[in-house]
Subunit: 556 residues, 2 copies
């Protein structure tokens, strides 16, 4: 293995033992969209604008704003030249990242002979510190179709300050880079666009292309129908949820409360609901839109449990998005007030401090389970703030539902014994072997990014479309990152942001869910998707969210 600087250390090497499944995936060749199989040209679309506040975006990106999105068409040709390309993985892992790198690498091998490829190590910090590994076929080969980000690892640093931009400039100049591919989520793609602008403003030749990555599924738009990793992660979670459903139905005595990764948006919860048909799935965006309280969410769950008890079912499956309490305004108020009180006073045992809470917050605090109260008061982050992220929402809801059911028992409205089982599915899903879809999609994204750099484009996000069709009919192009942007005011300044794509309450996936959940809640329409298959017809199933958003008919 070739490493370009001293402390390069690789975890996989030809001596690593692969499992049978890994090894059969390693040997599986990847299909390409037909436009990438012969000569092509890059065709400009019309002038672009911004998602919001175009005037501000134009000011923030004077060199990039307005440039056209592009698409690849058959025929024509690109210049014969060798390229120097860097690639970086940014943020949390998503299945398929290695295939994006494979795609770039294979493009350069076949279309830009003599090219050099560098992998920046440990995320954007690798760019700033110029820590990289020179990627060759030996290295790249061993990660094809494999999960994780361990080929070059990832990191959560951002390139933000003028000094950091300077460091990035030094690196791309030192390596004489023609291009840089940033594989990441909304923040990382915003950062990619800022880099593209900065390099152009400083007359550097280095172009920057982004790729849409996040299991959360909250980076998408018309031109970028999905982010990679979402398909695999949801399938892994749904395998587990499906198993719990069979468990619930067989034992007849457990309510499984399943918290699913996805802090900002509830796409994962929605997709897993569409795949498995749980009795209840809470969608954060709906909770926020209806200004629900923690009490109303608890009552919603409790009501269904009581109705199911009457119907003879003392078990069920409930899905909860990790970020649920971030969607409940009253919880946010309480936490804000608690932070204030803790910062400026003490929490006395007698509870006189509670008088400082607004009455709504006080009421909310009192209905919280004791363990959650203690967690809010005792566990703080280094800045002294309450740690919301540490709250195990599924356990909190179990306790709140338990209390409410005890009340109803006293009133004679509920007779059964409630047993809640908490689960959290997160880390297990973000590093799995990429599904056939994510494997193919990422390989195409990588080829696409390389083709855009080859044709001299910058400030675009790799865009692979027509995903409902067979791979050969997928479309390939680049969407201007500035066209996805709006501004937010932070610390008195306008900051460009790619807004997270939230679950649309008027979108096809949510509407399908809403039309079926009443039936699911009382009848048991469970579906057990089983483990992800890589061979046979079930390997070709696309996730419901994407199918519904593409307008295709979703099965099941």
């Amino acid at each position: 293995m070739s490493t370009a600087n001293g402390d390069a250390k690789h975890s996989r090497s030809p001596s690593v033992v692969y499992s049978e499944v890994q090894s059969s995936r390693l040997k599986t060749s990847l299909p390409l969209p037909s436009v990438l199989k012969s000569s092509f040209q890059v065709v400009d679309g019309p002038k672009s604008s911004a998602s919001g506040n175009p005037d501000q975006i134009a000011k923030l990106f004077p060199n990039l704003f307005g440039q056209p999105s592009v698409s690849l068409k058959s025929g024509g040709s690109l210049p014969e030249k060798s390229l120097k390309i860097g690639v970086v993985l940014s943020g949390g892992q998503a299945p398929g990242g290695h295939n994006v790198i494979s795609g770039i690498f294979d493009y350069l091998q076949t279309r830009a002979h003599g090219s050099t490829m560098y992998g920046f190590k440990g995320g954007p910090a690798g760019i700033m510190k110029c820590k990289y590994v020179k990627l060759n076929g030996d290295i790249v080969y061993h990660y094809r179709n494999q999960g994780g980000f361990d080929m070059i690892c990832s990191g959560r640093d951002k390139i933000e300050t003028p000094e950091q931009f300077k460091e990035a400039q030094e690196t791309v100049k030192k390596l004489d880079l023609d291009g840089l591919v940033v594989i990441g989520g909304d923040d990382s793609n915003t950062n990619a666009c800022l880099l593209a602008e900065n390099f152009r403003a400083n007359n550097l030749k280095t172009r920057v292309i982004g790729c849409p990555k996040t299991i959360d599924g909250d980076l998408k738009c018309k031109e970028v129908p999905t982010s990679f990793g979402f398909d695999t992660a949801c399938k892994i979670y749904s395998e587990m949820i499906g198993n719990l459903m069979v468990d619930a139905r067989s034992t007849g005595k457990y309510y499984h409360f399943v918290r699913l990764m996805g802090r900002a948006a509830s796409h994962i919860t929605l997709e897993c609901a569409l795949q498995t048909h749980p009795n209840i799935a809470i969608i954060g965006e709906e909770v926020a839109a209806q200004k629900q309280t923690l009490k109303s969410v608890t009552d919603y769950i409790t009501n269904i449990i009581c109705k199911r008890a009457v119907a003879g079912f003392n078990y069920g499956i409930i899905l909860i998005p990790e970020g649920l309490i971030d969607f409940i305004p009253e919880v946010q108020s309480l936490i804000g007030e608690l932070n204030e009180i803790i910062a400026h006073g003490t929490i006395d045992k007698e509870g006189t401090w509670k008088k400082k809470l607004r009455s709504q917050s006080h009421e909310l605090f009192e209905i919280l389970p004791k363990t959650i109260q203690e967690q809010l008061l005792l566990e703080r982050d280094p800045h002294g703030n309450v740690q919301v992220a540490k709250i195990e929402t599924e356990k909190m809801l179990i306790q709140m539902v338990e209390t409410e059911l005890e009340n109803r028992k006293k009133e004679g409205k509920y007779q059964k014994d409630f047993k809640g089982q908490p689960h959290f599915f997160g880390y297990e899903g973000r590093c799995g072997l990429p599904s056939k879809f994510d494997s193919n999609y990422c390989y195409a994204l990588g080829h696409c990014a390389a083709a855009l750099l080859h044709s001299g484009k910058t400030g675009l996000i790799s865009s692979v479309g027509n995903l409902g069709a067979p791979v050969e009919n997928w479309t390939i192009g680049g969407t201007t990152l500035t066209s996805l942007m709006d501004v937010e005011r932070r610390h008195g300044k306008f900051k460009p942001v790619i807004k997270k794509a939230m679950v649309e309450l008027e979108g096809a996936p949510f509407k399908k869910f809403a039309s079926m959940r009443g039936d699911w809640s009382l009848k048991n329409r469970y579906i057990n998707p089983g483990p992800v298959q890589f061979v046979g017809p079930s390997a070709d199933i696309l996730n419901h969210t994407l199918r519904l958003e593409l307008g295709a008919k979703a099965g099941g």
Copy 2:
């Protein structure tokens, strides 16, 4: 669907939607050992004895003790007759249970025309209360190769008192049963043998055959090489563990502590270790044999974490059996003393109650994390006893390791930041779609049980052998349940028991683990088995424990 008494209610029906994978499994036909494909005879072996205390076993089973185990041989023939057979699922779910029922059903269809089959509902209680469903092809078909026990559900009741045996007699008389198949673990098979003895003593024609079921893998012997469900459950857990390994290696900052189901024995932890190569796996039987303390287990983990830090690795994977603290004698002493103190006094806030603890128990209590101390003191079962089962061992160990690492940091022996992530894999695995092995094994077990009943045998456990060979070469027979038994003295009486098969420290699986764990602890030899496949060569992989115990060479 045909139901034989009023409240029969079925969760699956022809209208239920199956996932693509479920539906392809439903359509997959099952291979049979060749001896079951044509005419056969049942051949007696030599007279049998007992696993221990044969004199006592002979007294407890006067009608059954000494009868020979049997095997099926090609040629000969069984009488042409129709049979009435009941089947019951007992205890926790294990993937494959439905295929045992399918196997019995298909045997009767093809070899004993005109037979009737009853499924007792909700476990042994269904026998006592005569709650059953008449099984026909329509019902049975929909559960072929499917996980869970929901066809007839299961239960944990035991048939113990004279009144309960009387109820069972009434039921088998009422249904005119020729035979009863009890699908369960060690306790349920002991119960099956007691039923067989009781029916024979009372001159009832009903024969009883057991089948070895438990994901824990602790019901096995020479003639019964494995219990069904173990293979699938371990593969599902290993999929998740493998994913966490990729996560750990990619992020480089987490120690994932994974607690695995299996309270009495550590077979699951050992098998998952052999499949995935974690940095640490704690085997309860070894902890007990070496009389380890909680402190020594903590130190063992902490030492490896410190050594890994020096080697540049600030991450890792640690597997822990659910029943770990049951293996640590000092913890058992502490809990016993706590129960005494709580029963006869009060726990004062000043802690003077602690003086009643023996000094070793006092020391242990003081090193426990505060949350665990509180849990021990506050959460009691209905009898007022401390609830050991509720302790989340993985979280306790994370806190203890954290504390120890802080001490070492102060001493300058550790420099990194330790982040432990707790996981518990249990319910997800016991209801998954059965692996190809469990599907085939269970189908053969069912056929075998039916053949034994057909030939008039009783008090045997269905025994399918030569499992390392292709299915057609598997051997089929019945092992006398009394030969697996020993006695235990409980409440002054001798009780027959099938002793749980613990992890043998001299057995091939543990020895292989012990020979490799040093290497695994510091180097990262992780293997990611990926999701269970049902098609292709990786579908045929057998678990390591069985392969090693059979003396075959285990890959990886």
